[in-house]
Symmetry: D2
Subunit: 239 residues, 4 copies
């Protein structure tokens, strides 16, 4: 019953987007935990890209390039290209008042803005990709932030493998953060285990989808649906 | 680029649990929408089972059989067996004050109670199964309820395919419900499309996982982790 | 600028409903923290009532007495009377998978079921009362549970004073609970302070509302609105 | 039992912050509904100020003036002054994927950043003020967005009167927005009633708090607590 062969994950690409409020001149605790996951991926020969969204000028809005709506700058088109190039998207965020950051919220708005795009099969453009999240705070909110991020990703077309959320928080109340030695966070077995399992489950599902060339479009092609195909769906009737 | 072959979904089993507050003597609007999805599955030769949780005596608590903790009755062991027999679990719920029902909340508590169990690979017991949800209300809350349900399922080990949430609500304020003719809900194209896509994506992912015999246990076996295996995970160090 | 006089809170009544899954034969960690707040109230001469909802047979449903809809038992009418007799309602709940308990969810459904009732001023029946919450878990979710409970209470007509949520959780991952000595939870300064501030703010706002005989009905009487009164509201026009 | 006198709300100040993603060159549906509430306030002689946060350069971060942390621009100090000058704060937001906007999230982060400040009584600086919210979308999410906003406001020290959330959404699926004539939204009786009741309840509670000079500091002064005062709080003991 054992899986004896070490799977080969080379060929997969992962994009980690850190949605901390701090630009790269400052330490990010969320980055600290994201690195644990990135290290695993790199050890498994996955091509890993990492960025902090606040380092870029990403405009508010919902079209591909907000410069076309009079915004002076908008780096979203570049980020979006990275998103499309990756098989795996991992969103990292700190917790503020129990919620994901405003930067993470903007990222999801921009991803959502493109959700009308379709791939060559007529499916939503994110189909065939997998997503996960990494959350840190000094107190309370991993699950709530994860709910919001993972919901958005699956609604947009990402697949979510088992236990695709990981994170660290301390006891109720203010206190040291993930990278602060006195937190002892790096030795938290639960956080380390969840981070490891999330990372591998993202890889397993991404591999499976890659082998299958994404999802078969039978039953989920937006283009076909719009053309009148509805497979075994039957319009329910009022009686 | 097209997927020309109709996939074969026979051999898959799906369990639909309706978490309405009403027992089977009463009409459930949520059942109405669940049936749209069930009809598709049945047309695709999937073995479908359906139940309303309130028809059973499911106790509050977190162990397999709460009769062992002095509860008079507890039908959970039977329901849990059905859950384990199914490749696909779809939770249906009405919306009350923007939240999933108390019955759905209890279902998740009972599923959670078993989450320490492992399969033959040492993985959490729900691994290899896929989950989705169906939400109805007369107003507001599909996404919030779906966030909570899908989060719980993935955290417990279920995989979530693209767009695994569907539902119907009317305009803000009280009004007719899904099965009321004056709601026009059955003709809502968005609801019909999402219900169809959810159903097929559950089938595609369940098929894929079945062919793969679930997830390879490299990197996600709870038993191996507890025995000291940590694959490419490296304990981060404080510097 | 100081408030020198000790306020007189005698005459106020508070109802604490513990929504633990455990009946009174078992220890409830949530009760442990609720008692900290109850002790303050009692020291301030407030009439305090406490109950665990699972000790009662509260049916699923949305009318006052579900026995009228063929349920064998329903203790809700008695609980509802207690709710109406109290100036202050504090809902306690454990956290399961980041959510309030199914018992708390049922309590809110039953409160919601009565929200069409009006008082002598034609306002919703809960107007003039104040609400708060106490949350415990061994990990993660105080704020998310509090969001849901406090939202429901205010939407039903309760007033929410500053910082009406308090709670305790430990570091990420399983671990000791509130009453377990090794948790050190009782010495958590943040939890103790928040519990104290919540308790006093509930008392201050309840006193203020009592002196004012609740809310003036100018602008919020459901009955008057239904009769055509709309005060300074003007129907917006499309241009 | 009737309240016969028309209350006098002159002297109160309200600040409406619209967290739409669109700057003032574009139509905001959320503004449309906010105006219904503003019109009532103005008719009741309340001093009303309105702004769209995206029209300002508000930096990411958590201190009063992020220019001190090398940000080029930060208009937050001006906005914060407006917040402190107002008795009432109403946050408006559109819904994106079931969540409040990234602009609203940033607003709450900046409010939170100042939550350590205290007033002359030693209480958190927002004490004595009241808060509400206005939500619009073309589909689904009023309650979820309201939960998040109202939770944050009360946690920061605002008081929340009954039914402090109002909003409009259409039936499930994309469709016309609040200001689009074909939505019929302006004639939605539920939305109009809730908007009216919210507005008046904010006024009633703000008046009450103004007459009382905010909250008595007995039991809630952060400064006194830090100095060792704990009123009737008694440290719970392990037994």
């Amino acid at each position: 019953m054992e899986d004896l062969n070490k799977p080969d994950f080379s060929g997969l690409k992962a994009l980690y987007i850190n949605c901390t409020l701090k630009d790269s001149t400052q330490q990010s605790h969320t980055e600290g935990l994201m690195k644990v996951s990135m290290n695993i991926m790199e050890s498994e020969s996955v091509a890993v890209e990492y960025l902090r969204l606040v380092d870029y000028d990403v405009a508010y809005g919902l079209i591909l390039d907000m410069k076309k709506e009079r915004k002076e700058k908008d780096d979203w088109p570049d980020i979006y290209e990275k998103v499309l190039n990756a098989d795996i998207l991992i969103i990292g965020t700190p917790i503020w008042l129990g919620e994901k950051s405003s930067v993470a919220t903007k990222l999801i708005e921009r991803l959502y803005g493109m959700s009308g795009e379709t791939n060559k099969k007529g499916q939503y453009v994110y189909y065939g990709r997998v997503g996960g999240c990494v959350i840190t705070g000094n107190e309370d909110g991993i699950k709530h932030c994860a709910m919001s991020i993972l919901y958005a990703l699956q609604h947009l077309g990402y697949s979510i493998p088992p236990q695709a959320d990981c994170g660290w928080i301390g006891e109720a109340g203010p206190g040291p953060s993930y990278l602060d030695k006195e937190s002892g966070a790096k030795n938290n077995k639960f956080t380390n285990r969840n981070t490891t399992f999330m990372t591998y489950n993202l890889l397993h599902l991404a591999s499976m989808l890659k082998v299958n060339k994404g999802y078969n479009s039978y039953g989920n092609s937006r283009e076909k649906w719009d053309d009148g195909t509805c497979w075994s769906f039957q319009n329910p009737e009022y009686r």
